[in-house]
């Protein structure tokens, strides 16, 4: 039977190539696939476009990817200069692109991509600086922005449990963007705290069906948001 488990971290992420667009789950620390990000750093790819709600701060993995010079563009909803001095320095020097997207629009653009749709109309950001260059459409007297799908070559997500087919469940607010990003990439890689045998997950409670998951890697529990040494040794 199909088994999407990757026994090694390297095996889980090695297909990621230079120039890839990568969706990375998480809202702040919960749900951020820190181990997969470590694995991505080890690959030292270049010219990556990273889509993440808030590219963390200080010692977080994505901040380190940026410091390593792996990232050419960041698409996010929340980029707080005080939390990411390296990013702001590169951005001000024109060495890294930034696209700020309202959080709900960011999520829906990926859902739309995953659902095979060509875009959607949202009232969010009408009349603001984030509407610049975007088409507006009026429906029943209300003005909307036309937003387009946002698809990834890869998604790196985090879940609580996986079964061999890649069916996933999540934990509390670590769910956040992960089920959406799983849908929206050509190749979705999950890190999971634990794996369980087939039929151990209740089909009524599966959040992400395995059809959206290409590979998973089991990490065990770890304390989130703590700086880890460069490299993936020990995982």
């Amino acid at each position: 039977m199909q088994n999407k488990k990757s026994d090694t971290l390297e095996g889980a992420v090695s297909q990621i190539h230079d120039g890839a667009t990568i969706l990375i789950g998480g809202f702040a620390d919960p749900g951020t696939p820190e181990i997969l990000i470590d694995g991505l750093r080890d690959l030292a790819r270049r010219d990556l476009t990273i889509v993440i709600n808030n590219p963390g701060m200080r010692d977080s993995g994505v901040a380190r990817l940026i410091e390593d010079g792996c990232v050419s563009k960041l698409i996010c909803s929340f980029q707080w200069p005080r939390e990411s001095e390296t990013f702001m320095a590169l951005h001000d020097a024109g060495q890294i692109g930034l696209e700020i997207v309202p959080q709900g629009t960011l999520a829906e653009r990926m859902r739309t991509a995953g659902a095979g749709l060509g875009g959607f109309l949202t009232p969010t950001a009408v009349g603001t600086a984030l509407a610049d260059g975007k088409q507006t459409v009026t429906v029943d007297g209300t003005e909307y922005l036309l937003e387009t799908p946002l698809r990834g070559d890869f998604a790196l997500i985090k879940a609580f449990r996986a079964d061999p087919r890649g069916n996933l469940i999540y934990r509390r607010t670590a769910r956040n963007f992960n089920p959406i990003m799983a849908m929206a990439a050509d190749f979705t890689i999950a890190e999971v705290q634990e794996d369980v045998p087939i039929d151990a997950l209740d089909p009524e409670e599966i959040v992400t069906p395995g059809v959206f998951v290409d590979r998973y890697h089991v990490t065990g529990w770890y304390e989130i948001g703590k700086p880890r040494n460069a490299g993936s040794a020990g995982h």
């Binding site: 951005h91 700020i100 950001a125 603001t128 509390r172 607010t173 769910r175 963007f177 959406i180």
Partner: protein, 224 residues
Amino acid sequence: MSEQTNLLTRQQIAARAAQDMEDGWLVNLGIGMPTMIPAFIPSGCDVMFHSENGLIGMGPPPAEGEADQDLISAGKELVTMVSGGAYVHHTDSFAIARGGRLDCAVLGAFQVAANGDLCNWRLPNQTSGSVGGAMDIAAGSKRVFVMMTHTARDGAAKIVAERTYPLTAMKVVTKIFTDMAVISVTPNGFVLDEVAPGLTADDVQAVTDAPLNMDAVGTIDVAA
């Protein structure tokens, strides 16, 4: 007016805003002062709090030793889940916001204009900004309450006739709670509903850059 002493504390502003939360509401709280509101909701008033990172039924901070690293608010604080709550993913969370399921959002602001325009995501001189969920929530909530100091640190008015800061959402603010006053935003502009004890309507008007209707001004109840 006597300097500073008549300004409400942050707790008093939160307590006053909490008086406007109605039984049965689902409410989203912005980062900062609005997160102080739940402590002032009277028992028996069933208000649920939505946090856009996927939490319906956000509870108070965890007791010592009971924190769960996977359970945080949109403000990145450790929180708890109340009885009857639910976890959702991000598109459901924002369907709740844009789809009109939030009875109220309480947000901070840099500026509020007389037509209800909200400015709270970026300063005029910033090249990047941190919009987060503010635009979606402000655009979709049934009501938007603003909770803020009446003036900026440099004394500049934040309640203005027309905005000069970057826009978050057009014509959405319905009520403002400050350390000096409670002000409603109406089709005819600002209406001064209440002033802090010890202040006059003229005190408030003097630091507001838009005309206030002062036909029926009460006093904020800070005893509660």
